[in-house]
Amino acid sequence: MEKQDLLADYRTMVLIRSFEEHCQQQYTRARIGGFLHLYVGQEAVAVGAIGALKAQDHLVTHYRDHGHALARGLEPKPLMAELFGRSTGTGKGKGGSMHFADKNKNFWGGYAIVGAHLLLAMGIAYSIKYKREVLGEADQDGVVMCFFGDGATNGGEFYEAVSMAALYKLPIVFLCENNEFAMGTPLSVHTSVTEIHKKASPFMPGERVNGNDVEEMRARALHAVNHARTEGPYFLEAMTYRLRGHSAADPQMYRTRDDINARRSGDPIALLKQKLIDQNLLTEKQAKQIDKEVEKEMDAVVQFAEESPAPDLSEAWTEIYSKPL
C-alpha cells in the first residue's frame, strides 16, 4: 500500500474548504440558489477515507457531497457549474448541489433523500459479489464505501442495509460521519445510542475513529476496506464537527457562537497543518503558497461556472426514458 502523502491530503483539504467558502459567497450573491450543505470542518473524513479506496472501488454518498466528490478526484469546474445551474455542470444544471456524480470515477453520487441510498449502496455491493461468483468476472474485487450522517441511522433503511450486508457478507464499508447533529437536532435528542457504530455491532465489526485526524482516518479506512474486500461489511463511525450551518441559510438557533468557537481547535485543516509543520514537512510560507494556489484555481473555477451557458430549455425533456415516448 502506498504511503499516505500528507502534503497532498493537506492540499485537497484546503481545496475542499476553499470550494465551500466560494459556494457560500456565490450563494450570498444569489448565483447559487436552493439548498446548499457545506462540508466545512469535516474535510479529513472524506480525504482520509476516500483516499483508502482504489480506482475499482465505489463511492455512494448523501447530499452533503461536495467534499466527497472533490476527494474522489472530480474536477471542481463542472461541480461549480452545476451549482450555478449551467449546462456544463455534472448534471447539466438539472440537479444542483445534492446530486453530484461521475460514473468514470465510480462515484455514484449524492442522494438527497436521507437513508434511501444505503440500500442502493448495498445493492451495488451485492452485484459486485454476484458478478464475481455467478458471472465469473474475476476482476470484480471492488468495495463500496457508503457515506451517511448520524441522523440517517434512525430510519429503517439503515437497519435493513446493515442486516442484509451482513447476511450476504457484502463488500461494503458503512461510513457514518457523526457530526453530532442531524440538521438542528443534537445527537442525544435524536438517538438513544449515541455511539453510532454500536447500532451496527450485532451485524458487523466496526469502530469509532477520529474523523478530524486525516492520518487516523486513512489508517482505519484502509483496515475497513481490506476487511470488506476479503471478509464482509465493516462499520466506521468518524467523529467530526460541522463548523457551518446545516445549510447555507441556517440561522443555527440550536447552538451558540461560543459552542462553535470551542470546537475550532478540532478543525482538521489546522490540526494537519500543525502536524506537518512539527514534522518539518511544511512551513508557514509554503502553507500560504498553497492557499494562494488554491485561491487562484478557485477563481478560475468560479469564472468557468459564470461564463458557462444556461441549459437549453429543451433539456427539461431529455433523459427521462431510454427512448422518448
Binding site: 440558489g33 436552493g34 439548498f35 445551474g85 449551467r86 448534471g91 447539466k92 444544471g93 438539472k94 440537479g95 444542483g96 448541489s97 445534492m98 446530486h99 438527497a112 433523500i113 436521507v114 437513508g115 441522523g151 440517517a152 434512525n154 430510519g155 429503517g156 433503511e157 442531524a182 440538521m183 438542528g184 437536532t185 435528542v189 435524536h190 438517538t191 438557533m253 440550536y254 444556461a310 441549459p311 430549455l313 433539456e315 427539461a316 425533456w317 427521462i320
Partner: protein, 327 residues
C-alpha cells in the same frame, strides 16, 4: 386582526390549538429549538416544552406511524413532514393505516391526525425539495387533503383540521410562506373543510386552481382585465372533500374553464376536476375544458430557466386564457 404572512398565520393557529387543548402536540424533524426549517413552529418549543414540541428522530415512518397510534388513543398530534418530498417513507402508514382505520374497525377507532407538509416549487429546491404530492393522497378515500393559500384560510383550515376527527393532510405551499400576506383575525375561527373560495369574480372564463397557482391566476386575471377579459378564479382550498357545487356554478356563469395546477399534468389532481366538469358541466360549456400544469418530467429541475419552464407562470396562464376565450 393583524397582517401576517402565511407562515405566521400557521404558527398562530398552532399556538392557539396548543393553548386550547393539552392533547395537541407537534412532532417533526427540527421543529423544536430550531423552530422548523421554515420557522413555522418558531417559539412553540420554548412556550410548550419538549414533550409537546418533539424533535423526532430522522425517520418519517416514526413521525407518522407513532402519530397514528397516538391519535387512535385520544391524542391530537400534528405531525410535520419537513418537505413534502420526504413523505414517502411514511406513505405506507398514511395509506394503509390512517386512511383505512375507521373503515376496517367498524368505526371503533378514528385517526384525528393532522399532517403538515410544505410542498411546491419555484424556490430552486430542485429534484427533492419541490414536489407536489397531492395526487398520491387525494386518490385515497379516508384521507382529507387541503391546500390553503392565504393567511386567513391557512389559520382557519388548520384549526378546522385539528378539530376534525379524520386524518387531514395539510399542504402548505412553501413559496407562499413569506410572500403571501393578509389580515388574520386574532381569535380562534375556522373555515369548513370542503368549501372553495371565489378568489376573484369574473364572467368570461373560469380558472379552477389551488395553492400558489391561485395567486398566479389572479395575477394573470389582472393582466387580462386590461384586455377586457373578465376572469373568475376559484381557489379550491380543500381538495378532498371537493366543493363540486362552486365549480359547476362558476362553469355555468362563464362557460369556459381552465383547470390549473402545479403538479405534473398527467394523472394530476386537476384531471379529476376536469372529469367532473366534463360530466356535470357539459351542457354549460362553450369550449373544451383546458388544463395547464407542470411538465410531465420526473422532477423539477434546479437551473432557473428550466424551473421556470416547468412551472405555470402568470404569463403562461394569461396566454392559455386568451386562447380559451377566443375559442
Amino acid at each position: 386582526m393583524a397582517e401576517l404572512n402565511l407562515l405566521e398565520a400557521i404558527n398562530q393557529a398552532l399556538d392557539q390549538a396548543m393553548a386550547n387543548d393539552e392533547r395537541v402536540y407537534i412532532i417533526g424533524e427540527d421543529v423544536g429549538q430550531r423552530g422548523g426549517v421554515f420557522r413555522v413552529t418558531d417559539g412553540l418549543h420554548a412556550k410548550y416544552g419538549e414533550k409537546r414540541v418533539i424533535d423526532a428522530p430522522l425517520a418519517e415512518s416514526i413521525i407518522i406511524g407513532s402519530s397514528i397510534g397516538a391519535a387512535m388513543y385520544g391524542m391530537r398530534p400534528i405531525a410535520e413532514i419537513q418537505f413534502a418530498d420526504f413523505i414517502f417513507p411514511a406513505f405506507n402508514q398514511i395509506i394503509s393505516e390512517a386512511a383505512r382505520m375507521r373503515y376496517r374497525s367498524n368505526n371503533t377507532w378514528e385517526v384525528p391526525l393532522v399532517i403538515r407538509a410544505p410542498y411546491g416549487g419555484g424556490i430552486h429546491g430542485a429534484l427533492y425539495h419541490s414536489q407536489s404530492i397531492e395526487a398520491f393522497f387525494t386518490h385515497i378515500p379516508g384521507l382529507k387533503v387541503v391546500a390553503p393559500s392565504t393567511p386567513y384560510d391557512a389559520k382557519a383550515m388548520l384549526l378546522a383540521a385539528i378539530d376534525d376527527p379524520d386524518p387531514v393532510l395539510f399542504l402548505e405551499h412553501k413559496k407562499c410562506y413569506r410572500l403571501i400576506k393578509g389580515y388574520v383575525p386574532d381569535e380562534h375561527y375556522t373555515v369548513p373543510i370542503g368549501k372553495a373560495d371565489i378568489a376573484r369574480e369574473g364572467s368570461d372564463v373560469s380558472v379552477i386552481t389551488y395553492g400558489m397557482m391561485r395567486h398566479y391566476a389572479v395575477e394573470a386575471a389582472e393582466m387580462l382585465a386590461g384586455e377586457d377579459i373578465n376572469v373568475e378564479v376559484v381557489d379550491l382550498r380543500s381538495l378532498v372533500p371537493l366543493d363540486r357545487e362552486t365549480i359547476i356554478n362558476s362553469v355555468k356563469k362563464t362557460s369556459k374553464v381552465l383547470v390549473l395546477y402545479e403538479d405534473n399534468l398527467f394523472g394530476g389532481y386537476g384531471a379529476e376536476v376536469a372529469a367532473i366538469i366534463a360530466q356535470d358541466g357539459f351542457e354549460y360549456l362553450d369550449a373544451p375544458v383546458q388544463r395547464l400544469a407542470g411538465l410531465d418530467i420526473p422532477a423539477m429541475p434546479y437551473s432557473t430557466p428550466l424551473e421556470n419552464e416547468f412551472l405555470p407562470t402568470p404569463s403562461k396562464i394569461a396566454d392559455t386564457l386568451r386562447d380559451l376565450v377566443n375559442y
